[in-house]
C-alpha cells in the first residue's frame, strides 16, 4: 500500500467538538430579524378537488402577513427531486394545486408573526373539498377503473415514457439476451414475489429553511439541504427569478439520508419573503416530516431465475412495481437503480429481462433514500440466491464467491441501464468482495453456526444468514463537482467546495485529500463548503458521490496548486528540479528548501505578485462499485414471532478508506438503520389513507436498547479511478440487513419472510402456516 501521511488516517472530524458542544449553527440556529413563521394547511382527504378556498377571515387576523394558495401563486410544474438538469423525474408538482392527492398534501400556506397566529389563521380558512375516489393499492394504479391522479398537463422533462393517463410516473423495459430460451436451458426455476414498505429517513433535524432579502434585494436561503445548487436552480425556475438573484447557504445539517435531496421548503420560503419583503422561517414538525416530506418508496419485486444443476443461472426475470405515492419524484431513477445496482453483481447471467413501473397512488410521496432502490431489490435478490444455493446444496457464501462479479469483469447492465438513458460500460477496477465474505464469515463464526440451529434463551432458536451487495460511486458522466484552493501567506490554504457535508464528515475527508496532495497537515487547510455564492458548483451529496467525485475534484485542484507552488519555489531558489517535501520544496543538490510560507509571502508581497489559486472540476466515466458482505445472527422466538438480532457483521470494500473511522461510521449507521427497517419501522395507515403513527414514539425506530453487537471491517482495495484509490461507502450498508436477517430466520426456523417489515406478527403467521402445511402433509 502507498505510504500516505493523511489518507487512511482516522483524522478527527473537523467539526466534531463544536458540534458536540452544540455551537456549530444549524439552519434553525441562525438569528433572523423578526421572521414570519410559515405553516401549511394540509388535506385530510386522500384525493379531492379544492372547489373553493376563502382566506379572507385568515387574512384579516392580526399578525397574518399572507395566505398563499393555487389561486395566487405561480402554477409552474416542477419536480422536488434535487437532481441534475433536466431532472429525470416527472414535472407533476406545483407549489399549490387545485387538487389534493394524499392525506397530508398541501392546500395552502400562512405566513404570520408567530406559529400560534399561523395555526389560528389556518383554522379560519374556509376550504371546500370535493372528495374523489382514492387509490391506495399500487397493483390497481394502471387499472382503467382506478382514479387518475395527474391530468392537468404534467410532463416529463426528458424523453422517457411517462403516462399520467395510466398513473404511470415512469417505466422500464431492459431486455438482455433471450430469457425464454435461457429458462428452457435451466434445470430448475425459482420464482418468488417480495414486497418492501415505506419508511422515514428520520434525520434528527427536521426539514427547515430560513430566508431573507439582503440590501441588494437578493434572496438568501439558509437551508438544510443535500443539494444547494439544485435548490438555487429549481427555486429560480419555479418563482421565475434569475438564478443570479439567489444565494443558497447550507450550514451544518442534521442528517439527510436522501430526505433532504428534495427541494421541499425552499421555494415557499423564497416566495413568502419576496411577497412580504420579510425574513421567513419554516421548520417541519416531526409529524410533518413523517407524512408530508418523503419516504422510502415501497416496491414489489418479482424475481424468476432459471438455474442449472451446476449452479449457473441461465436466465433472470425481474419485474418491479414501485409505489411512487402522489408525486413522481425520483420515480424513474429509484426504479432503475433497483436493477442497475443489483443485477451486475451476478454478471454471468446471459439472459436477463428487467421490467418495472413507478405508479401513482394517493399515499405519501416516495423519494431518494439511502440505498435508492437497491435496498428494496436486494431484499428479494439475496433471499433468492440463498434459496438457489440451498437447492443446489452449496453453501450460500461459496455460491456467492463463485458467481459474483470480479476485478477485470463487466456486466451488460452497466451499459444498458443508466439514469433516464443508456448506461455507461465499465470494467470493474477493484473488487474485494471475496475477502469481505471470508473476513465477515470468520468474525461471525459462519462455518460453526450455519445450519446448527442452537437453542437460545426461553425456547428461542438461533440462525445465521448473510447477504452480499454492491452500490456505485456517483453517477457516471452526469455528476460533477468543483473545487478551488488558494494559498495564504502563512502557508495555509483555503479550500472551497460545492460538496455538501450532511454529517458524513465529507468536509474532513476533502481536507484530507487536499492535505495529502499538498503534503501539509490537515490543520493547515480551512474548508468552506456549500455556498452558491462562494464555492464552485457541485451536484450535491447523493448517489454515493462526494468522496469519489468531489474528492476527485479536490485532488486535481490540490495537485494543480502543487505545480503553482513549485514554480514560485523554483524561481526563488533558481533551481528547476525540486522535490516536494512537507510544506516546502527542496533542492536535492544543495539541500536548500523554500517553504509554503515563504512562497506565500513572496507571491503576495515580493516578486511576480499574484494570488496563487487553482480550480478543478471532476466528472467520471465510470462508477466503481463498493462491495459489502453483511451477516446477521438472529434469535427467533417461535411462540411470539419476535426476532432479535444478536450480532451483526459488515465487511466492506470501499477502496482506500480516506478516513477509516468515518467510513466505519457510515456502515454502522446504515446497518442499524437497515436492521430497524427490516424488523420494526413502518407506516401504519387507516382505511382513509391517513398515517396513524407519525411520531417517533409510535414509529419503531431502533434505540440503544435494540441494536445488536456490531462488528465492522474495512477490506482495503485500491481503485485507480478514485482519489487515492477511494470508492464510495455512504449508501451500501443499508442494503444487507433485511435479506441477511430473512436468510438467518430461515436458517433458524425454516420459514421464508417475503414481506417487510418482518414484524413478530408476520414471523408468527409464517411459522403457523408452515406448521399447518407440515400437518397437512403428515
Amino acid at each position: 500500500m502507498a505510504d500516505y501521511t493523511t489518507i487512511g488516517k482516522s483524522v478527527k472530524k473537523i467539526d466534531a467538538l463544536p458540534l458536540a458542544l452544540g455551537i456549530e449553527p444549524f439552519t434553525a440556529d441562525y438569528p433572523l430579524d423578526s421572521p414570519l413563521i410559515l405553516k401549511f394547511m394540509y388535506s385530510d382527504l386522500a384525493h379531492a378537488d379544492i372547489v373553493s378556498l376563502d382566506a379572507s377571515r385568515a387574512e384579516a387576523l392580526d399578525g397574518v402577513a399572507g395566505v398563499f394558495h393555487f389561486w395566487n401563486c405561480p402554477d409552474t410544474f416542477y419536480t422536488t427531486a434535487g437532481q441534475g438538469y433536466p431532472e429525470p423525474s416527472a414535472y407533476d408538482n406545483r407549489l399549490f394545486d387545485h387538487k389534493v392527492r394524499f392525506v397530508g398534501d398541501r392546500i395552502c400556506m400562512v405566513a404570520a408573526e408567530t406559529a400560534e397566529i399561523a395555526e389560528e389563521a389556518i383554522s379560519l380558512i374556509d376550504v371546500e373539498l370535493d372528495p374523489l375516489p382514492a387509490l391506495f393499492d399500487p397493483e390497481l394504479s394502471t387499472d382503467p377503473d382506478s382514479p387518475r391522479l395527474h391530468s392537468d398537463g404534467e410532463y416529463m422533462p426528458i424523453p422517457v415514457p411517462y403516462e399520467p393517463e395510466n398513473n404511470i410516473a415512469a417505466s422500464l423495459d431492459i431486455p438482455l439476451g433471450d430469457v425464454e430460451s435461457g429458462m428452457e436451458e435451466a434445470d430448475f426455476v425459482v420464482e418468488h414475489r417480495y414486497t418492501t414498505h415505506q419508511t422515514s429517513h428520520a434525520a434528527l433535524e427536521p426539514h427547515v429553511v430560513a430566508c431573507y432579502l439582503n440590501p441588494h434585494d437578493r434572496v438568501i436561503l439558509i437551508t438544510a439541504t443535500q443539494v444547494p445548487f439544485h435548490v438555487r436552480r429549481i427555486v429560480g425556475r419555479v418563482l421565475d427569478i434569475p438564478i443570479q438573484r439567489i444565494r443558497v447557504i447550507k450550514p451544518r445539517i442534521g442528517g439527510g439520508f436522501g430526505g433532504k435531496q428534495e427541494v421541499l421548503l425552499e421555494p415557499y420560503a423564497a416566495l413568502a419573503t419576496l411577497r412580504t419583503g420579510r425574513p421567513t422561517f419554516c421548520e417541519f414538525t416531526r409529524s410533518e416530516v413523517f407524512v408530508s416530506s418523503r419516504t422510502r418508496h415501497p416496491m414489489r419485486v418479482d424475481f424468476k431465475m432459471g438455474v442449472k444443476n451446476n449452479g449457473e443461472i441461465t436466465a433472470l426475470v425481474m419485474d418491479a412495481l414501485m409505489d411512487s405515492g402522489a408525486y413522481g419524484t425520483h420515480g424513474l431513477t429509484v426504479l432503475s437503480n433497483a436493477g442497475a445496482k443489483v443485477l451486475p453483481l451476478f454478471n454471468k447471467i446471459p439472459n436477463m429481462l428487467f421490467t418495472g413501473k413507478s405508479v401513482y397512488t394517493n399515499l405519501p410521496v416516495g423519494g431518494a433514500y439511502r440505498g435508492y432502490g437497491a435496498t428494496q431489490s436486494y431484499f428479494g435478490f439475496n433471499q433468492h440466491i440463498d434459496m438457489i444455493a440451498r437447492k443446489l446444496d452449496i453453501d450460500f457464501l461459496d455460491y456467492c464467491k463463485k458467481w459474483h462479479i470480479k476485478k477485470g469483469e463487466t456486466s451488460e447492465i452497466f451499459r444498458a441501464l443508466g439514469e433516464g438513458k443508456e448506461g455507461v460500460s465499465q470494467v470493474i477496477g477493484s473488487c474485494g468482495l471475496g475477502e469481505c465474505i471470508d473476513v465477515g464469515a470468520a468474525a461471525i463464526g459462519w462455518k460453526k453456526k450455519r445450519g446448527s440451529k442452537p437453542s437460545g434463551p426461553n425456547g428461542s432458536i438461533r440462525g445465521i444468514g448473510a447477504a452480499i451487495m454492491m452500490q456505485g460511486s456517483g453517477i457516471p458522466k452526469i455528476d460533477m463537482g468543483g473545487a478551488s484552493l488558494k494559498l495564504n501567506e502563512d502557508g495555509s490554504f483555503n479550500l472551497f467546495v460545492g460538496a455538501t457535508d450532511l454529517g458524513t464528515g465529507s468536509d474532513t475527508i476533502l481536507v484530507q485529500i487536499a492535505a495529502e496532495a499538498l503534503k501539509v497537515a490537515p490543520e493547515k487547510i480551512e474548508i468552506l463548503s456549500s455556498d452558491t455564492d462562494l464555492t464552485p458548483f457541485d451536484v450535491g451529496a447523493y448517489a454515493s458521490s462526494t468522496t469519489y467525485i468531489s474528492g476527485g475534484a479536490v485532488m486535481k485542484c490540490a495537485l494543480a496548486m502543487v505545480d503553482e507552488l513549485r514554480k514560485v519555489a523554483a524561481e526563488a531558489l533558481g533551481v528547476d528540479a525540486l522535490v516536494q517535501g512537507s510544506e516546502c520544496f527542496t533542492d536535492p543538490e544543495s539541500g536548500k528548501s523554500f517553504s509554503y510560507e515563504e512562497i506565500g509571502y513572496r507571491s503576495f508581497y515580493a516578486k511576480n505578485q499574484a494570488q496563487l489559486q487553482t480550480n478543478a472540476s471532476h466528472t467520471s466515466d465510470v462508477s466503481p462499485p463498493p462491495f459489502l458482505a453483511q451477516f446477521a445472527e438472529v434469535e427467533v422466538d417461535p411462540e411470539t414471532g419476535i426476532v432479535r438480532v444478536v450480532e451483526f457483521v459488515s465487511a466492506v470494500d470501499c477502496g482506500q478508506a480516506i478516513n477509516p473511522a468515518l467510513a466505519e461510521g457510515q456502515i454502522e449507521g446504515a446497518a442499524v438503520n437497515g436492521i430497524s427497517y427490516a424488523l420494526a419501522e413502518q407506516y401504519v395507515f387507516n382505511r382513509d389513507g391517513r398515517v396513524t403513527n407519525a411520531a417517533f414514539g409510535r414509529y419503531g425506530m431502533y434505540t440503544t436498547a435494540d441494536m445488536p453487537k456490531m462488528q465492522t471491517f474495512l477490506i482495503p482495495t485500491h481503485d485507480e479511478n478514485g482519489p487515492y484509490g477511494a470508492k464510495s461507502v455512504g449508501e451500501i450498508g443499508i442494503n444487507g440487513p433485511a435479506p441477511a436477517i430473512a436468510n438467518a430466520i430461515f436458517d433458524a426456523v425454516g420459514v421464508r419472510l417475503y414481506h417487510l417489515p418482518m414484524t413478530p406478527e408476520r414471523v408468527f403467521r409464517a411459522l403457523q402456516e408452515s406448521r399447518s402445511e407440515e400437518n397437512h402433509s403428515a
Binding site: E116, L204, G503, A695
Partner: protein, 155 residues
Amino acid sequence: MNGTITVNGTEMKIDFDPIDTLLDVLRNNGHTEVKRGCSKGECGTCLILLDDLLVNSCQVFAATALGKRVTTSTGLNEDGRPHTIHEAFADAGAVQCGFCTPGMVMATHSLLRESPDPTEEEIRAGLVGNLCRCTGYVKIIDAVKLASKRMREHG
C-alpha cells in the same frame, strides 16, 4: 409572563407566553445548543439538567423552570470549554451530523454521575431516550466508555 432562570450559572430574565416550553425560551434566548428534534419528548435532542434532573426541555413549561438552575451542553464546564464528555464523543468518532450530540452528552453526563463505570447494559439503558440515525449508536457507546475511563482517571 416573565421571571428569572439561571442558565449555565448566569441569571437570565425571560419574557414568555404561558404556552412556551423551556426549550422555546432557551432557544429564543440564544441557547441554540439545545436542539429541537420532535417537540414530543421522544428524541432526546433537547435534554438539559433542570436543577439536577435530566429532562427533555420540550416537555417542561417555561413557567416550571422559574427560579431553577438549567444546565445545557455548553454549561457542563463552568468556563464554557469542552467537557471530557464532549472530547470523548469527538475522539471516539461518535459525532456525525451532531444534531443529537448535545442531548447525548447530557444523558451521558447524568449516567456517569450516577454510575461512573457503567456496564454496556447500563450505557444502553442510560441513552435509551436519545435517538440517533447517523451512527447506529456504535461509536456513541464507545464514547461513553471513553468518557467514563478518562473521568475516572483524571477526576
